[in-house]
Symmetry: D2
Subunit: 337 residues, 4 copies
C-alpha cells in the first residue's frame, strides 16, 4: 500500500499518521519530495482500512498495490484450477458446455431438451427452478417441482445439473440434489448467501453482477473460498452500459483478464449478455477464441411460447450447429471440446 | 402495449401472433402501413410476457406503454404517502433527517453521536450492526451486540433506529427491535428478502442498486408492497458511472422523477454517493432544493479512527452547521425541517 | 508520480528503469519491501509519459499524484476567477443566468424571447445558429442568418450573446460578433478547435462531453488556457449512464468537485441534462444550492412547434417563476442573483 | 413512427396533434383503447421531429420504428460493401489487416515496422502523424513530417497508409497523400469534419466514440455517405464503462450487430480497447471469431521507449505469431486472411 500525503503536510502530521499505521505492525518508509510526501507501507497491510487512512485531512490518496483477494489469486496458485463435477471436468483445458432452458416448465420439456443438448455435445444441463424476476407479478419458476424435474432429466441423461439458488432457505435441498449451485448476477454481493455456500462442498457457478468490476467478482469468489469451498466457476454474463441495442454488453476482455488474475475457470453466458437469440452464435465463438473455459447457453424447443426469456433462447437444431462451429475454433486453438 | 412487426410480415403470421395474444383476453387492433404493421393491444396486458412475444421472428419490437408497477404508482394513489415511524413522519411535506455512524462501534460512540445529532435536529438514528463488506476479511459489524447498542441509544434519545438487514435469518430480531429496516443497494434485487419484508408491518428503507434504473427500484418497492407492506421509503445513494473522482454519481434527477412516478417518499444518502466528507454538505443542499423528503447522513465523532467508511463521515459540529444551512434552503422552498 | 514495480523485479531492471527516468531530470527514490518495490519520483515529472513507463514488463502500475492541469488548477490560482462578458460578471459570487431558445428560428422569435428572459432576470442570451444534429437530415440551424438575428436581439436588449461554434472555419465571424463562444459536448476534445480558441481573447463556454471525466474537462480547458486565453466557463450538461428515463444524468457533484479543483466558474445546463421540461425547475434549484456560478436554460415561446429540442424547453412564464424561486435559494445561501 | 398519447387525452387534443402531423404529408391511424391512445404514423416520417411532438403535454412517448439511417442501412443494400483501397479489398469476405505504430517517430522506425508487418501479413500500414492527446503538453505528433515519412514507408513497402485527420485544415494534404483517412473516436460527432469528408472520394475509417451508441456510429457514417462518399469502414475500439481494469471495454457484440444493421465493413482496434499489450492477442482472436472484417493493431519495435501509448503496443515478433493464430481461426470459420 502506498499513502500519498498532501503538499504542505507538517512533520507532526506525518509522524502522527506513521504512528497510526505502525500500530498495525506495518513498516512505514517515507519518500519526501518538494511537491509531495509518499509513504511506502511494507508488511502485511491486510488489516489496514484504506478509507480510514483517507479520512485524515492530510492524506491525498491511498493506492492499493496488491490485489485484495488471496485464495482466488493466481499468485498463490499458479496453475489453472480444474473442477470436477461428477466426473465432468472444467478448467485447465477442459471445456464445460452447459445448456438447457431458461426455466424448467414440464417433464417433457426438460427431458426433451436435456437429451437433445447431450446429443449435440453438452456435458451439463442448466434450467431454472427458482427464477429471479424484476416483477413480482411474473412467473417465478416451478420451485421444488422444478428441482424434481431436473433430477428426472439427470437420471435420463446422466448430465449433472446446474440451477440457481435465491435464498439460504433452500440450501439443504440444493446441497442434496444439485450438482452446481448457481449464484445469479443480482446476488453476487449477497454476502450472507456467499458465506453459507462457502461452508458447503458443492461447486458454485458465480455470475458477475451487472455493474460489478472484475475485482469485485473475485472478492465475491473469495467470500466463498474463505469459507473453505474452493470449487468456484466464474461467469461473465454481460455488464450494464449506456448501449441499449443489446440487453447487456458482453465484456469479452474479462476472460483473459480473469485468467491472468486468477486460477479459477471462467465461463461465458452469451444468452443473457445479448438478450437476442441471433447473437448467441457469434458471441459463443468469440468467447472460445478469447480462451473461455466453458459456455452456458439457453436452449429451448419452443422459444416463442417459453415461460421466460424466449427471446434469447436458441432451438436445439441451432445449438447443434453451434457446437460444430465452436469445436472447429477450439481445434484451431489446440483445444478439444 | 404496442407490438411492432417487421416489414414484410405475412398475413398468416400477423394472424398467428394476434391469436396468440388474444388468448390472454387482450384485444388486438392492427395498424397496417406500407412500411410497417403495428398492433395496438387493448385491455389488461399484465399477463403477457413481452420477451416471449419478441421471440417471434416477425416481431420487430414490443413497446411498453404503462409502467409495470401498480401499488408504487402515483397513478393509483395521487397523494404523497406519509409514513409514520413511531411518531416521526416522512413524506408529504414531512422531512426525515436520519444521521449516525456507518458502524456501531461501542456504547459510548453510538450514544454520544445519537445525542449530538438529535440536538442538531436529526429525527432518526442510523448505524450499521451488520455490514456488507466487499472483502470477507474486513470488519463485518458488531451484529447482535450492535443492535443491543442501538436500542440503548434509542432509549437514551428517543430516536427511532434505522439499520440494515442482510439476510432473512435475522428477520425476527429486526421486526422486534428495529424501527426502519434498511435494504442495502447490493440487496435491492434480493427478491426473497423483499418478499419476506413485504409480509412484515415494518417501514422499509429501500436503497437503489448501483446500476438499477429508477423503474427497477420501483419494481423492487412493488415486491414489498405486493406482500401487503406499503410503508416503503426509497433512497437514492449514487449510481455507478465512468466518473471515478466520486465513489458513485448522485443521480439528483431521481428525486423529481420518482416523485412524478410514485407517491412514496424519497431520501438521499449524500455520504455514500460521494465517498468524500467535503461533498456531503453541497449534495445535501442540492437534495433539499430538488425536493427530497429526507436525508440519511453518516456522522462520526472520530472519522479518522472509524472502523469503516471514515472518509465519507462528517463530525457532529459539521453536521450541526449543515442542518442550519439546509433549514434555510427548506424555508426558501416553503418547507420546514 | 509513483512507480510500482512487480514483485520479483531484479536489481538490474530496477536500475535500468531508474536510469531511464533520471534521464528526464527527475530524482528516483526507491522504497524496497519484501512484497513490492516503489519508486517515488521527485521533481518535474511533466515530461514523463506514464504509459511508456508502464510498457516496461517489470512495472506494475504508475500512479499520478498531481493533477495534470496547471492553469486551470486552483493550486496555482487560489481565488475564484471572475469573468467579465461585456460588463456581465460570472464567478466569484456573480451569477450568470443565460437563457434563450435551442435554435434561432426568426427575428420575432429571438427578439421576443430575449426581451422576455431579460425581464425575468436573465443577463445573457443563448440561441443556436449552427446546430450539431445526430442526423444529417435534421434542421442544422440558420447559420450566418442566425448570427445576424442574434445580433439584432442583442441590439434590442443589450444582452451579450452565447452561441455554439462547430468548426474553425467560422472562427473569424464568431470572434467579431459573439460574446461567449460555446464549445458543445461533442467537440470537447476537438483539440484543433480548442487550440484556435486559445489564441482568441473571447470568453469560451466549454461543455463537458457526454462521457468525459471531470479531469478530462479540465484538461480541455487547459488546452484553451495554454494558448493564452484564460476566460473559460465550464458547463456540466449531464453525462451518459445506463439510466434511460432522463436523456442524460446530471452530475450534480461536478459543481463542488470542479470548484475544489479549479478556479474557473461552473454553470449548469438543466435542459440538456434532463431532456424533459418539467425537470428544468428542480435541477436548476439543485444546481444553485450546490454552488453553481450560473445556469444556461432553454426557453421557447412555442416549444411544441420549435425546430429542435422542444421537449426540454420551458415557456417564458415558467422561466419567470423559476427565476423567482432560485433567487430565494440563492438568498438562503447568502448570494444574490 | 408510433405516437403514444397520455390517458385522458381529449378528442380535441387528439385532433390537434393529428392535424399537426398530417401537415407533413403523413397519414395518422389512431388506435383508441380505454387506457391509451396510439397513433400509427404511415408514410415518410423523416421530416417529423420526434422531440417536438413529445413537447406536447398530451404525448406520452414517441417510438421510432425504422432506423434513422438510410445509405448505411442493410435494408437498402442487402449485400456486404467491399471497399477497395489501392487494390486492397476489405469487407464481403476480404480481411483488412492494418498494423503500425501509434505515432510515426522517425524514418527508420516507420520503414522498419512497415517492412516487418508486411512480412507478417499486414495489408495496410497505420501510423499517427497528428495525435489527439488529452494534455496540451504531450507530444502531438510529427505532423507534416510524419505524413512525409508515411509516404516513404508506403513507397518502400507498397502498403496503403491509414492515418488520422484532426481538422479540416489539413484536408487537402490528406486527400492528396493518404489512402484511408481515419476519424478518431473524439471526432466521431465532429459533424463539420464528417461533411467535408463526405465530399471527398477517399476511404474513411470511422472510429466509434467512447460513449456513442451503435446507432449514433451509423448516423455519423450516414453524414459521410449523405455527401456522396460511400467508402466508409467502421471501427469498434472500446467503449467507456465503469470497469477500470481495462482502459475501455471492447464491445464485441458490436460486430454482429453492425453487420446485421449495415452493409459496411467493421474492423476492431484491440490495442485501444484494452490499453494493455497482453490483451491484444485474445481480443484479436475474439474479433475474428465474431466475424470482424479486419483488425487495426499497434505494433512498435521498441514499445518501452515509444513516444506514445507504448503500453498497448506489441512487438513485431508478437504480431507475427498473432497473425498465424488468427489465420487458423479464420480458416476454422471458412475464411482466408
Amino acid at each position: 500500500m502506498v499513502v500519498i500525503l498532501k503538499k504542505g503536510t507538517s512533520k507532526e502530521e506525518l509522524e502522527r499518521i506513521s504512528r497510526g499505521i505502525q500500530r498495525f505492525g506495518v513498516k512505514v518508509s517515507p519518500v519526501i519530495g518538494e511537491e509531495l510526501i509518499i509513504l511506502g507501507l511494507i508488511g502485511d497491510t491486510s488489516k489496514l482500512d484504506p478509507k480510514t487512512i483517507e479520512a485524515n485531512e492530510c492524506v491525498e490518496r491511498v493506492v492499493h498495490v496488491q490485489e485484495p483477494y488471496k485464495r482466488a489469486n493466481r499468485m498463490f496458485k499458479p496453475h489453472d484450477s480444474i473442477i470436477d463435477v461428477n466426473g465432468v471436468k472444467i478448467g485447465g483445458g477442459h471445456f464445460g458446455l452447459i445448456a438447457g432452458p431458461c426455466s424448467v416448465e414440464s417433464e417433457d420439456q426438460i427431458i426433451g431438451i436435456a437429451q437433445a443438448v447431450k446429443k449435440s455435445g453438452a456435458n451439463m444441463l442448466r434450467g431454472g427452478a427458482f427464477k429471479p424476476r424484476t416483477s413480482p407479478y411474473s412467473f417465478q419458476g416451478l420451485k421444488d417441482e422444478g428441482l424434481d424435474l431436473l433430477l428426472k432429466a439427470k437420471k435420463e441423461t446422466g448430465l449433472p445439473i446446474v440451477t440457481e439458488i435465491m435464498s439460504t432457505e433452500y440450501l439443504e435441498r440444493f446441497v442434496e440434489d444439485v450438482d452446481v449451485i448457481q449464484v445469479g448476477a443480482r446476488n453476487m454481493q449477497n454476502f450472507e448467501l456467499l458465506k453459507e455456500l462457502g461452508r458447503t462442498k458443492k461447486t458454485i457457478l458465480l455470475k458477475r453482477g451487472l455493474s460489478a468490476t472484475i475485482e469485485e467478482l473475485l472478492m465475491s469468489a473469495e467470500y466463498i473460498m474463505a469459507g473453505g469451498n474452493e470449487d468456484v466457476i466464474l461467469c461473465e454474463r454481460g455488464i450494464r452500459t449506456f448501449e441499449t441495442y443489446t440487453r447487456n454488453t458482453l465484456d469479452i476482455s474479462a476472460i483473459p483478464v480473469i485468467k491472468k488474475l486468477s486460477h479459477l475457470p471462467v465461463v461465458i453466458d452469451p444468452s443473457h449478455s445479448a438478450g437476442k437469440w441471433w447473437l448467441v452464435e457469434p458471441l459463443s465463438k468469440a468467447a472460445v477464441a478469447a480462451g473461455a473455459d466453458g459456455l452456458i447457453i439457453e436452449v429451448h424447443n419452443d422459444p416463442e411460447n417459453a415461460l421466460c426469456d424466449g427471446q434469447q433462447s436458441i432451438k436445439p437444431s441451432k445449438f447443434d450447429k453451434l457446437v460444430d462451429d465452436i469445436r472447429l475454433i477450439a481445434q484451431a486453438m489446440g483445444k478439444t471440446i
